[in-house]
Amino acid sequence: MFHIYCPYCEEYREEEEFHPKGQAHIARPADPEACTDEQWGDYLFFRDNPRGIHHELWVHAVGCRKFFNITRNTVSYEILETYKMGEQPRFTAEYPEGKPDEQVAAEKVAAEAAGVERQEGVKA
């Protein structure tokens, strides 16, 4: 049973309080009507299924009811981080030891700048 740090409750809680909701960062296409059947099918059904570092969407269902993301190793089940909606992971397949601080800071600045324009979604 996982022990999951809820970034909103700011403490560890038992897995029984949470529901996994699939892969994180799957943004709904901004203009669904402009999608081909293939693009729409990809959005609905096709997922990364990595052996190793994976970003997942979870909800603290019995708790604060907030959705948030988890970076987890799908083999060891180690949770590397949890982060709020709209934030970017520090640990990725590319950076299994974590992105360097400078990069995290740069991404944050970029995200804030982009965030003004991209108000419509936080999944991406």
């Binding site: 049973m1 729409w40 909800v59």
Partner: protein, 1012 residues
């Protein structure tokens, strides 16, 4: 019978307390402090069981969790039977009743042993894969016979009288094992004030110190144990759990511990102040750090006849003598590969029985214990091993010879030593099971001659559990690892004063697993590796010859390690034999992976209190009591109990469901009925963007819904398939009340939050479940207005309170929101009141309702009435593959809404545009007396051969007392353009029904009645 093997003194048993017990129908005596195994050995009982495959007589081999043979059936009554109890782990209690699990007519004379003796050679591993194939039709018959021989113990056939429970525990450090290492670790951690749990599987804490020859601080080791335990028991931050096995290590340091709370007291938990306590308790421990001080299991050597009663592992001999005051025989031959096992001979000698010889595989052993043995005048034969145990029901001799371990050959002439006991030791395997549960693969260590655990972060192993068998080093290791664990939690621990241990020089052990025999393994007498599953060295050799080269293949082909002991004694020996046969090293053959449980745990303990009445919540509405008192039958809907129908007694006879439903339906159509609709999900939605949110989440339009009005809505997933439906009312410009299906409520709530939090956080809207706050009662039927008018101040005039309006007012003095929504097609009012007042309102309606014929109805009648109107039930008429268009509900699809709402895009995919999709229609049976079966499959051509092309199925079907005929809703391929066509329903009884495709609305198609 006297306790022939009980020593006059010594051991930790309470000699003043004699306990009577029965084994295989015979009465014996033992003492408090005995295990069933020690008591049986004390009484000279050699054969405790028959083996699984060959029915060979078997005795007690070990003294703990690793015991493979002594599995017994416990219990004197049917309800209290426990199968497969390990006698070595069962404390003796007064009146204990046990039986061998195998052996017919009894274990002494077992008929099946003949089969084993004669047929044994016809049962190599995998023999059943190679035979019983012809003729094919006979297999099920063969199998019946094979199954007769299956199993060890038997299941009870009556309900368990006991209860079980769970305790959720949290700690900084969980220490598993209360031997010297665990005690040192626990004490170190406890003194820092950290929250510590110390769990140990034995009846008493102390582990190896309870039967140790060592002194600590110059005193018997047990004295130190007592001191430490006393200190720990006095600390608030420490939880001591004796008789508690850590059986499973799950993710993120979640460990399950099984505490046997009363199993040492009787076969059922004794009443305490009239209350039956939990027989055992499962602790669900979330630990910050875990320290494994689980010790090691001694490996027996694999030699011919090593399963004959009287063969034991060396350490068990010491344990029985020193802890229980029992010598399990008279004349001992000890066969060893290491110094440590010499203790068995020293203990045996001190107990005053004869040590015939110590046979040491090493050419020149020279450790201190070896010298002690020689000093005592014990015969030490070097470079040799026991090749074969003689005897059939008890060891009668040991054939020994010099051997060459490197070439695996017998090098000298064998000599037979007369003896009745052979103890052996091939070394010590660290108990790595729990570490292995975490997914970390253990690694082979040539110095330890065993696998040592790999450890994930936060897990620590100390002492024997990682191959440090020396007592002084182990104590220091326990302390050091506890400090490390605490440091990881950011706590610092101080060094504690460890007890003084006499240093002892120990010689190097040699690697010996299977002892060579003069004959090749396949021809030698059976050399057992896994005694519980009757796996021999020959079986392993044969498996490797047949191409099973991975250790996993070998295990599966031979069943090695698949017993209830999970190969605690045998697995390493088996791997060594496989390695020898394949010419590889042990680590090359593979590693050994253990799965939970370390030792078996009862289903009851795992289920805990979540059984019987508490298996799953039952959800009740505020009117539940009334329903019960009025004889309702209930339907399960999600976790809710909903009244299904209210059978009445007519002329002393209880109505059938059919009769009750017919009466209830007619009451609604002709007078007025009342339904408890409280279980529908209700979600309060507020915020300036609430309306926009509804527009995106529902298929239909919400822009113009005025305050005071309600609207039916459809909710799809983004694949275009219907997921839920319900009405949503506009309470204020920025305030809506959504209803959902009963079963879908929680899912819809999470669905709304998902979209809001992840896709549309910019929308200012909140969702709050008010399902439980409001109780809902629907009164419906032509008299509904007249009835309601009697007890409300709301103006019910048809032009001022129209269909799909809602109003506020008082009903029976209670503030209420009343919604003019109809799921029956009749005039209907859904009265919502704060749930605490609901029963009052409900009862008041009945006080006034009698003259109108007010009739309570349940879900069955609701289903009939709504189906007559063609109203769907999501989840019954739809199944996750149905779009709003398939339902003919294009009127509820906002094709031109500006935002591409959830589900819209999918409706234009090629498959959703097919014209032959299954579509909702009505079916009118040609024979009006026929009620089609729900789930009946529909065909166009009833004469088609099997397999028949099916074109749809019946989703809802009832007898309509109003129409006086059966009718149904169904989905049919291209059904909406097949009105008037006939379809067929071929049934299991051979009949084929014919039905006409009609529109789904059977009653009041213009919908006039709900507007009256």
């Amino acid at each position: 019978m006297s306790q022939v093997n009980r020593l006059r003194e010594g051991g930790r048993i309470d000699r003043a307390r004699r306990l009577n017990f029965t084994f295989n129908g015979k009465r014996y005596q033992g003492h408090a402090g005995d295990t069933l195994a020690s008591a049986l050995l004390a009484n000279g009982v050699d054969i405790v069981n028959r083996s699984f495959k060959y029915s060979r007589p078997r005795g007690i081999v070990a003294a703990g969790a690793e015991e493979p043979n002594a599995l017994i059936q416990l219990g004197s009554t049917e309800a209290t039977q426990v199968p497969n109890v390990r006698a070595t782990q069962q404390a003796l209690f007064e009146g204990l009743t046990a039986q061998s699990t195998n052996g017919w007519p009894n274990v002494q004379r077992d008929v099946m042993s003949l089969v084993g003796k004669l047929g044994g050679r016809f049962m190599p591993p995998g023999f059943y894969y190679k035979t019983f194939m012809a003729p094919a039709s006979m297999w099920m018959t063969y199998e019946k016979f094979i199954r007769k021989g299956a199993g060890l113990g038997r299941s009870p056939m009556e309900r368990d009288p006991d209860i079980y429970d769970h305790l959720n525990q949290h700690c900084d450090l969980l220490v598993i094992g209360a031997g010297p290492v665990g005690l040192a670790a626990a004490l170190t951690a406890a003194r820092t004030g950290a929250r510590v749990i110390l769990a140990d599987e034995q009846e008493e804490m102390g582990g190896s110190l309870l039967d140790s020859r060592e002194t600590l601080n110059g005193q018997p080791a047990s004295q130190w144990v007592a001191q430490v335990l006393e200190e720990l028991a006095g600390l608030d931050n420490v939880t001591l759990l004796p008789r508690t096995t850590a059986h499973g290590y799950h993710d993120h340091h979640f460990v399950t511990l099984h505490e046997r709370r009363t199993e040492h007291l009787g076969e059922t938990a004794p009443l305490a102040a009239g209350v039956r306590p939990a027989r055992s308790r499962l602790h669900r421990v979330r630990a910050g750090q875990v320290l494994l001080a689980t010790g090691a299991h001694e490996r027996p050597l694999v030699y011919a006849g090593n399963d004959v009663p009287g063969n034991l592992v060396a350490g068990a001999v010491s344990t029985y003598i020193r802890r229980y005051g029992v010598v399990p025989g008279n004349k001992l031959v000890l066969s060893v590969s290491n110094d440590h096992a010499y203790r068995a001979a020293l203990d045996w000698d001190e107990a005053g029985r004869e040590v015939v010889a110590i046979v040491d595989a090493r050419p020149a052993p020279d450790g201190e214990l070896v010298e002690q043995a020689r000093d005592r005048g014990l015969r030490v034969i070097t470079g040799s091993a026991v090749l074969e145990a003689k005897g059939s029901t008890r060891v009668s001799g040991a054939r020994i010879a010099t051997i060459d371990t490197a070439t695996f050959t017998v090098t000298g002439q064998a000599e037979t030593l007369a003896c009745d006991t052979i103890a052996s030791s091939g070394g010590y395997s660290p108990v790595i099971h729990l570490a292995s549960h975490t997914g970390a693969r253990p690694t082979w260590n040539d110095e330890v001659l065993g696998f040592v655990p790999s450890l994930v972060k936060g897990v620590h192993a100390a002492g024997s559990a990682r191959g440090i068998h020396d007592l002084a080093e182990g104590l220091a290791d326990g302390m050091a690892k506890a400090c490390e664990a605490l440091a990881e939690l950011g706590k610092s621990a101080e060094v504690i004063a460890l007890p003084q241990v006499e240093a002892r020089r120990e010689g190097v052990a040699c690697a010996l697993y299977q002892v060579p025999h003069e004959k090749p393994t396949l021809r030698a007498p059976k050399q057992f590796v896994d005694m519980q599953n009757d796996v021999t060295a020959a079986a392993i050799e044969l498996a490797t010859r047949e191409g099973f080269e991975s250790i996993e293949h070998v295990k599966r082909y031979t069943a090695m390690g698949f017993g209830t002991d999970q190969g605690k004694l045998g697995n390493i020996n088996g791997m060594a034999i496989a390695a020898r046969c394949l010419g590889k090293s042990i680590p090359e053959v593979g590693t050994t992976v253990f799965r939970p449980n370390y030792t078996p745990v009862t289903f009851g303990a795992i289920a805990g209190r979540h059984c019987r009445d508490l298996f799953d919540p039952e959800r009740y509405t505020a009117m539940h009591q009334w329903h019960v008192e009025h004889g309702a039958e209930f339907e399960e809907v999600g976790q809710w109990k909903r009244p299904w129908y209210f059978p009445q007694s007519v002329n002393g006879k209880q109505e059938t469901m059919h009769e009750a439903v017919a009466r209830e339906c007619l009451a609604v159509r002709e007078k007025v009925g009342i339904l408890d609709a409280s279980t529908l999900g209700k979600i309060d939605i507020q915020g300036p963007d609430a309306r926009e949110f509804l527009n995106r989440i529902y298929t239909n339009k919400w822009a113009k819904l005025a305050v005071g009005r309600a609207r039916y809505g459809l909710m799809c997933k983004d694949d275009g398939m219907l997921m839920d439906d319900g009405t949503t009312s506009c309470l204020g410009e920025n305030h809506f009340l959504m209803t959902t299906t009963t079963g879908g409520a929680a899912g819809v709530m999470e669905w709304l939050e998902l979209w809001h939090q992840t896709e549309w956080p910019e929308l200012n809207v909140t969702f709050t479940s008010v399902t439980d706050h409001w109780a809902t009662m629907t009164i419906t039927g032509p008299e509904a207005r007249n009835l309601l008018a009697e007890i409300t101040d709301i103006d019910l005039a048809r032009d001022r309170f129209k269909f799909m309006d809602w109003r506020e007012g008082k009903v029976a003095e209670v503030p209420a929101r009343v919604f003019r929504i109809s799921f029956t097609g009749e005039l209907a009012y859904e009265i919502n009141v704060q749930a605490n007042y609901a029963l009052h309102v409900w009862k008041t309606l009945f006080q006034h309702g009698e003259k109108y014929g007010l009739t309570p109805y349940g879900t069955e009648t609701m289903h009939v009435l709504r189906a007559e109107k063609g109203f769907i039930i999501a989840g019954q008429d739809t199944d996750g593959s149905v779009t709003p268009e398939d339902l003919g509900m294009q009127w509820a699809v906002g094709y031109d809404k500006p935002y591409s709402w959830v589900g819209k895009r999918a409706l234009s995919r090629s498959d959703t545009r097919r014209i032959d999709r299954k579509q909702l229609v009505g079916l009118k049976p040609k024979d009006p007396t026929v009620v089609l079966e729900e789930g009946a499959q529909i065909v166009f051509d009833p004469d088609h051969a099997i397999p028949m092309p099916m074109v749809g199925h019946v989703t809802s079907s009832y007898y309509s007392p109003t129409l006086q005929s059966g009718f149904a809703l169904a989905v049919v391929k291209g059904g909406q353009s097949r009105m008037g066509q006939t379809v067929y329903l071929p049934m299991a009884d051979g009949k084929t029904h014919a039905a006409e495709i009609v529109g789904p609305i059977f009653y009041d198609p213009k919908g006039e009645r709900q507007h009256v």
